[in-house]
Symmetry: C2
Subunit: 485 residues, 2 copies
Amino acid sequence: MNLDFDLQRFRRLLELSSEQVLSLYGSLGERKVTHASGPQVIADRFSEPLPIEGREPEELLAKEVPFIFGHSTLNISPRFFAYVMSGGSQVGILAELLGAALNVNHAKWHLASAAAEIERAVIRWLSEFIGYRTGAGGALVSGGSEANLYCLRVARDEKAPGVREDGCRSARPLTLYASAETHSCINKSVEMLGIGSRHLRKIPVDSRFRVDVRKLEEHIAQDLKAGMQPFCIVGNAGTVNSGAVDDLDALADVASRYGLWFHVDGAYGAAAAAVDATSEMFRGLERADSIALDPHKWLQVPFEAGCALVRDWASIRNSFSYAAPYLRATSDNAERWDWMGHTFQLSRGFRALKVWMQFQVYGSRKLKAVIEENVSLMHRLGAEIDQARDFERMAPVPLSIVCFRYVPAQGPSLADDELDRLNDRILEECERRGEFFLTGTKLNGRTALRACLINHRTTEAETLGLLAHLRSLGEELTGVAGVRP
Amino acid sequence: MNLDFDLQRFRRLLELSSEQVLSLYGSLGERKVTHASGPQVIADRFSEPLPIEGREPEELLAKEVPFIFGHSTLNISPRFFAYVMSGGSQVGILAELLGAALNVNHAKWHLASAAAEIERAVIRWLSEFIGYRTGAGGALVSGGSEANLYCLRVARDEKAPGVREDGCRSARPLTLYASAETHSCINKSVEMLGIGSRHLRKIPVDSRFRVDVRKLEEHIAQDLKAGMQPFCIVGNAGTVNSGAVDDLDALADVASRYGLWFHVDGAYGAAAAAVDATSEMFRGLERADSIALDPHKWLQVPFEAGCALVRDWASIRNSFSYAAPYLRATSDNAERWDWMGHTFQLSRGFRALKVWMQFQVYGSRKLKAVIEENVSLMHRLGAEIDQARDFERMAPVPLSIVCFRYVPAQGPSLADDELDRLNDRILEECERRGEFFLTGTKLNGRTALRACLINHRTTEAETLGLLAHLRSLGEELTGVAGVRP
């Protein structure tokens, strides 16, 4: 029951699929970022029972793919500013095509020797790109959540010997420390690892949303006195809320003073350590014991491509190798490099190819230029907001996230609650219309419009266009909907 | 710094990439399954430092891709019988191309509404395909390891309320039960979850490599007496060693008697529950609380595509939702279905597309026919071995794995140790020559040649060809290398 098409038909199917891709990219400028169909429309479209007989793939491509493309939010669009999402790259698309065709499994060298070495190269390059140490270990994973989990797993196993066998049952509970602005995936990781979320200490931040290092150290001292086992500090290299970068050097000092693992969540921001304009902020990153870093964010690789970096390969094998302990410390240059001893996954696809091709085709120079331009555009947006009478910036702009709100310039001044409601409605209306897309957040309890840019396709035109669009929505809502009396 | 190519060049690059894919598939019959280059050759090829300037993608495709394709093991080949790996599908290749181009993030409905509903459809279909319950929840994940982790995570959180907050620190240690033939990813999951591998009880198997249910129940009773908290039984629906399927119905009875979660690892085998010839073996599967099942195995979807199925969505949200507890029990048909409350990952790619297109194009009928044919071919191989004077079968063949060894028909009979060495050398030599590829395992301490078939491209010709090839290697090695005196 060979499922293959004859080569001529397969060629035609590749052409038809490519046409769909080209038509998507050819119309990106005109397409809305969101679509207006409600949940029921989409659910109904995909409600059919398990197909028994197949359909002709030509018909499927012609009929279903345009619907799917038309009912997806286009983070590949230059007018997308929501969450923390990049536009992907066309080289990444080619890589996914080639990788799926080859369909290797990365688990062992003798299954995918080129892929094994390509992933090793990518780990070296990513480490070098952000100025992390030579000889660092790591692995490509699905994204930031898994990268943070991977690193905290290695930290746990190193600081609590025997935990793989015994579980998290030590007399002194393991505790770890991170700012209140830390991403929820750290919480989720701590739950996954059996450490328990109440052992994750959320430390207050300063006015720039950076962790208060003094309070963090006090909490460690308290916990030690109370019989806990502090084992790890998590620093932020770019929070998702506002892009805040903790004082990594100071955190490294504290970690070193207390003998703790120092992990940095740089899923969004760490790539900016590569760039002159922002590198200074990341001083201390090179002292981290582990770093989470997402190629599918600022490096413009398509989903999914996260990366966990760890100071050495031995720590990784200490967590993931299944060889008997006396065999775990194999050389880093073992004859045949088996990835299965360095990851949780066993079967693994060839995601290294898209990261490798990205660096090969664009080089670090162009990838850095994207980051630099994104930061500069968001600083420009921040400056526009500062000059505007009807917008108010709500946080510093260290990287490429701007948090702000619309504050009507005319009419009676609105209370914070009223401003929250107004800005929530602006967000809803913006999403409904689909010219631009951004999402909000809460800062100090207040609704913020939040524009995040990690997309190589966005220029000054879209950046200033976003502000003009939000202004017109604000004016329309306050004028028409009568927020003002 | 827009990284896009102009459309004409992008079209050309898609064509060039497609040509590489077509040339790979057009030459599959002639290509060796493995390659002969040593680790140093591959490592040297990919040892270059981080590229600063980029390369022309046309040059990269022309020069590097053939090298990569030529230095990969071809599990897409019909002559591949190693591990548990499928050949992928051409529809899956198209889906990966389309998905990478769209590059949506599945985390929230308003980011990828079509993708969100397509994944829900795929979960329904997979559940229906194997005869699991209507209304089951689940998620697509990277593969079997993550699917098992996901299910055991849900089990842990359901049976140990408070564990998300408190960690694995209950007075009575959590224990779980699985056969000695269980895949190592269960071990790895238990370590990840903070339960500790020594709390995973490995229960002996019978002569057919199925768990001894009586001993399993005895162990539970002992543990209860010793103050443990048994919480889960893991049944095997197709072990990786020999394809053994535990008595799932009996395990479900025990689980129900003791109030334990009943998880089934069907990463490899559960798909065979869909097929008349083998479905009887899986009686009791429908009683599982959760099932791990890999579309990238017997359903011929390219890597990575694993699936965790859980009896209901509420259990899943109990583990992964971050809404406040009083909000967790949202309806299964919530207006906007956000996947982020149902998975560990936040950013997620569109892997649902390839599973969905697979079912759409081939229908369940053809996918079942592949499974049926694979099972029948491996039974045929088993029968050939039983009739041969120079091969010895070492385990039953319930599904599509045959474990056997070469035993020279002539000359003095060899001791088990000598047979181990001889068969190890056959494996090495087979890999080196690359006409076929299979790997070995240990059964009752003895080396077995192990042929596993979950590939739609393999026919009787390759199946019988494998045996003839191994015979000629065995004869050559015993004749030339003088294993016999």
